[in-house]
Symmetry: C2
Subunit: 355 residues, 2 copies
């Protein structure tokens, strides 16, 4: 570890404290896609190895996971992987161009029935080995977050076949073939439950479900399809001794629905004011939600934007600072360093503790 | 007109009544992008003429505007044009691939200062001639809606240079160059005010501002940039004797902000429950908001989805039925016919009037 990184090193990890809505020295911070293209050290590795190979090599995935933790005083690491990796393990053939393109989109009952069960130790052993390698090298106080795509978000790619602004084919599929859609979602929900449980068994200290596209649905469709399937995954994981995080992109209209979801933390995008999230979801911790675009502001304006997020979150414990969406590849790493240190200093000072 | 179309033909046009929150025989209905690619007669014209030529020919634009009104019992027509058409009139060079691509994106103060004023009669006379031609041929009871892109939505294309899922370049520009962004927005706001006023003078009976991308902004950024500029346009138009409609895509988090906007109608996408819109914006009419994907459902399910929208809107006057976003090119026109007739029959029956 670079000696200048100012992290809390004694007591409970701030990230885990915040998940449980307990106080810590400062507000913990990590960043969605913190291991990725905005980092020169990532681009260096990537220049030698294609993306799929990176996700399927335990050593390289571990190295990339650790890169941002070495550079910034982040309070959590997140496994470097892709939400489609377990589906490749289930025999789905796909290419990254750079978004995932499914060679044979899944649109019939027969294809859905033919989907095999995921057995993580057999089908994606490299992911679990990566978790073990990362845990060995992570500093104290920096827990590892395991993750998976939420079932409906995975359905979007499987049915539409490729990334899309609207995922129209997938959304039309829900209306045209609701029974087949539910069956596919059940299978994906069970597979992701097995996948996340295996990550926890390998050492992941928190589990996050990414609902990147559920916010495209009308609220009633969200309830019937996306939320029901996410709940199936999360219910299966609840007995495990790790906090559960559900991230809802474009989820402003869905907050009331989420209040009944048995998770520890709800992550939201930059469009949902944290004060509203806190009001609706008082019994949960909240994660977010600086606009990724704010990292392009001059320092003083960036600080003002960070202060605004902290003010929206309020002084109650249970706030994990993050961006509202993944960091953009064009971001200057020095802005990230400033963000992390500023959140720590500012919130430590507010609590009368030392960063 | 085909004789079988069942429209209200006596009294105030249902669309204008709803804009003013007055009762009519039934709930009026029109469909965003109703003149477009899902119609065989549109594709027939388009097979002979490229898109830009269509938008710059008064006769062809008028013909295409009228096509859906001939086929379905729609209660309003909307001018066939593109939100970028007036910017072409201001000298912005662009191509449609098929989304608008700006050959030289606008990112400097010098480029912004150099933008000329829009003089609609000089710069886009064919649009105003189209309005006149359409009005001549529209049946009684079917008003013509003129429209423009909201200033921030236009800024997204001008700064990013091309369509984008996130319009990251434009959003980063707001943080990095807020003063230049405000100056550009002011110029666009004034140009769109002149453009819409000219459409009204030529015969448009309602004016709609499309805020397609304002919902990408964090609420504070929305207030500072998008809403301020939209208000500048709308305030200039308020003295005109036509109803004003503001459509906010992805606007769920912005409803409170919109309550202060002096317009007659707020249009929302399929993700914002109309009951919430009605509660927050009680003094305005509301337009929307069936999911465009619902048109791919079997008839019985489509009817259930329409019923759900009508139930959310409630019995008070001031609801204009529409989709929550533009109709998709893959949509079956017979589903549209069913939608329009079903909304009329259902709401006429509920009021004890005859469709």
């Amino acid at each position: 570890m670079a000696p200048e990184l100012k992290r809390a090193t004694a007591g409970e990890a701030p990230f885990l404290a915040a998940c449980a809505r307990r106080r810590s020295h400062y507000t913990p911070v990590w960043i969605m896609r913190q291991a990725g293209r905005y980092l020169p050290e990532y681009r260096e590795v990537r220049s030698r190895v294609d993306f799929v190979t990176l996700t399927r090599s335990a050593e390289l995935a571990a190295e990339i996971t650790l890169q941002p933790v070495r550079r910034f005083a982040l309070d959590a690491a997140i496994l470097f992987s892709d939400i489609m990796t377990p589906l490749q393990g289930m025999g789905i053939a796909l290419d990254f161009e750079p978004g995932p393109v499914v060679r044979t989109p899944i649109r019939t009952a027969a294809q859905i029935e033919a989907l095999p069960t995921l057995e993580p130790r057999r089908d994606v052993p490299f992911v679990l080995q990566a978790v073990e390698l990362i845990r060995r090298d992570l500093p104290a106080g920096v827990p590892l977050i395991g993750f998976a795509g939420a079932p409906f978000t995975l359905l979007c790619y499987l049915v539409s076949g490729r990334p899309s602004k609207e995922f129209g084919t997938a959304r039309a599929f829900l209306y045209a073939e609701p029974d087949a859609a539910e069956r596919l979602l059940d299978k994906l929900a069970d597979a992701m439950a097995a996948y996340l449980a295996a990550q926890a068994a390998a050492g992941a200290q928190a589990l996050m479900l990414f609902e990147s596209w559920g916010g495209l649905l009308a609220p009633a469709q969200y309830r019937r399809f996306a939320l029901r399937a996410a709940r199936r995954t999360l219910t299966a994981l609840r007995p495990l001794a790790v906090p559960l995080i559900y991230y809802a992109n474009q989820g402003t209209a869905l907050l009331e629905e989420l209040s009944g979801l048995d998770v520890d933390v709800i992550g939201v995008d930059w469009r949902t004011p944290l004060s509203v999230v806190r009001r609706v979801l008082g019994e949960k911790a909240v994660q977010g939600n600086l606009d990724p675009a704010a990292l392009f502001a001059p320092r003083a304006e960036l600080e003002r934007q960070i202060d605004a997020v902290l003010a929206e979150a309020g002084p109650a414990p249970g706030h994990i600072f993050n961006l509202g969406h993944g960091i953009w590849p064009e971001t200057d790493p020095s802005a990230v360093a400033h963000l992390v240190d500023y959140v720590h200093e500012r919130t430590a000072a507010a609590r009368g503790s030392r960063a």
